[in-house]
């Protein structure tokens, strides 16, 4: 077991190292910006893999928490823009256009960097914790929970678009200052921003790995496979689920903050249905029960998408191809590429394939050491 663990840590480490040395090889600011975006999507995939793959909570609204984090960062950077971009009395320009005369109270704390950075993680986490407390406390699970996360996202999205004078409405928050911390400036198109994202990704990946390997992680996997049984053992199932739901939201919030730095704006599309669907697809393609697999799935799919969307013909059919691929993966490869890889590595790949997904997940729970496979 311990040999397997160290092998896994080694593999994760090698991948992170490979990600970190990219700027040494690529000296193109535009490409680095693009790669950094893919890495942020990778973080989102890790977040969903934690809640979906490890705890069985299918979050169809993962983009909600991503968007909340992104808006927190955008509000902070908006207040830091040089006066040219803002209206009278340091009000953000869109507020002036909407006849707002005083900075709304909700914006005031975002003058302070520590508060803004904390908010970017804590606001999504608290939102998820509250929603989780209601859902899991009421023993809402499975499909129900999935739809409620989707509904919550649709509503948050509507509110942000509706409250134009506080959020910029459809246009989102644009014309942002550059992010500065400890005397370092993070230009969206620079190696330093890439490193910032890559380091955050590494930390997130290992944090998620540590959680999944901890006792809490094991209990969560048990909840995923046999919720009732875990409850009968006396564990507070709702508490564990709320915890992982909030943790996943915090990771998504961090990813959202980084995304604002990379994209230089925040928009309601960041918490839209299409992005949420994409996250689910990445994780399904990569392998929902593997953190690294999910992350690489995101990087792979968005990478291919980025390459293909440069050719005109694929731009429109891409969504179609993606949807079709997704349905096929759900039908025939429920464990994604990571599952296929594991089956390849193992000596007897037959045992894995037999009996479809249901049996496969049950096997996972029965043969715990199997999780210590390379991915």
């Amino acid at each position: 077991m311990s040999g397997k663990v160290s092998r896994q840590i080694l593999l994760y480490g090698v991948v992170c190292l490979a990600i970190l040395i990219v700027p040494v090889l690529v000296d193109d600011a535009f490409l680095l910006n693009k790669y950094a975006r893919y890495l942020i999507f990778g973080m989102l995939a890790i977040a969903l893999s934690l809640s979906w793959g490890y705890a069985g909570i299918l979050n169809l609204g993962q983009a909600t928490t991503f968007g909340l984090g992104s808006y927190c960062m955008a509000m902070f950077l908006k207040l830091k823009t040089v006066p040219i971009h803002t209206g009278s009395d340091g009000l953000p320009d869109f507020m002036v256009w909407n006849n707002v005369t005083e900075l709304p109270w909700i914006w005031v704390p975002f003058h302070s960097m520590p508060i803004a950075l904390l908010a970017g993680i804590l606001v999504p986490a608290l939102f998820a914790a509250l929603l989780g407390w209601f859902m899991f406390g009421g023993r809402i699970a499975g499909v129900y929970a999935a739809i409620i996360t989707l509904a919550a996202m649709v509503v948050v999205n509507l509110i942000i678009i509706d409250q134009q004078s506080y959020t910029g409405g459809f246009n989102g928050i644009t014309d942002l200052a550059r992010f500065e911390i400890f005397g370092l400036t993070f230009d969206a198109y620079s190696a330093s921003t890439y490193y910032l994202v890559a380091i955050c990704l590494t930390v997130t990946l290992f944090l998620a790995l540590a959680v999944s390997r901890s006792k809490t992680g094991l209990i969560l996997q048990a909840v995923r496979d046999q919720e009732e049984r875990v409850r009968f053992f006396g564990y507070d199932v709702a508490l564990y689920k709320t915890f992982v739901f909030a943790l996943s939201a915090a990771i998504a919030g961090l990813a959202g903050m980084l995304y604002t730095i990379i994209m230089e704006f925040a928009s309601p599309t960041f918490l839209g249905v299409p992005l949420s669907l994409s996250i689910v697809i990445w994780v399904a393609v990569g392998g929902r029960q593997s953190l690294l697999g999910a992350m690489l799935g995101a990087v792979l799919v968005t990478g291919v998408q980025g390459a293909l969307s440069e050719t005109e013909a694929f731009l429109e059919t891409w969504t179609l191809v993606m949807g079709g691929l997704f349905v096929l993966i759900v039908l025939f490869m429920p464990k994604g590429l990571a599952g296929a890889f594991e089956a390849l590595v193992r000596r007897f790949p037959k045992a894995e394939r037999k009996g479809g997904a249901r049996h496969a997940t049950e096997q996972t729970s029965k043969s715990q050491p199997h999780l210590g496979g390379a991915l």
Binding site: G56, L58, L60, L131, W133, F134, M135, G137, G138, R139, I140, G142, V143, Y144, A146, I147, I148, L150, A151, A152, V154, V155, L158, I159, I161, D162, V273, L277, V280, I281, A284, E316, T317, T319, L320, M322, G323, G324, F326, V327, V330, L331, P334, G356, A357, R358
Partner: protein, 289 residues
Amino acid sequence: MDFVVSQILTGLSLSSILLLVALGLAIIYGVTGVINLAHGEFVMLGAYCAWLLQSQLGWSLLASLAVIFLLIAALGWLIEVAVIRHLYDRPLDTILATWGLGVMTQQIVRLTAGGELRYVQMPPSLSGSVDILGATDSAYRLFVLAVALGLFLATWCIYRYTSFGLKLRAITQNRAIASSFGINSARAYRLTFAYGAGIAGLAGALISPLKSVSPEMGTTYVVDAFMVVVLGGVQSLVGTLASSAVLGETSGLLAYYSNDTIAKALVLVAIVIIIRFRPQGLFAPRVRA
């Protein structure tokens, strides 16, 4: 008095649309346990069929309703055969598969019919307005309400009084035992799915003169419809009826005091709080799971 009546009528109109959209979803979920996230796309396709038949063939909306029902039901049948039936023992994956199908459908419509908004003409015979207790309401909205109630009644009668309905109820209670008594549950599931899809298509066609038709219109409907089903309690058709009435009237009232968005948000918050304390839904009878 006028105000109260017109407010109730507004709420009823919202309720009837909710009922139309939620009915198909509730039937499919109640019988097969599948959450059909492509349901909104069935609604959207129904609306597009109405637009297509009207603008290309010059059919009146009323004349095309039956055709639309059959078309979308056939599509539902195909989807059940191709995808859904492989996933009955993996409920979470049915959400994913139907979501993927929904996205594909949206994109196909966008590529063929274009992404711009489309409009469907109201049937001329129903474009007037009617006086009710001093308040006026559009005749078409009342027609939609009547159709919604009629469909509900028809569905309820099928479920309650026909031998097919009896089989459905048996399958809902225990599929394995029902099958061992010789009920063809696979066929029943397929018919249910097709029927639910057909009703969704009908809903879309009926809604089309009231709202603009676009490829994205389905998403909000599926979320609203699911709220109805959650609040009403699954496997309870009467619950679906009651909760669409409650939700429609509440949204209408809240929208009067603030706006549609705030109303929607408040309703969602209320639902999340309600299911915390009554997860089986407001109107579901207590049954052993």
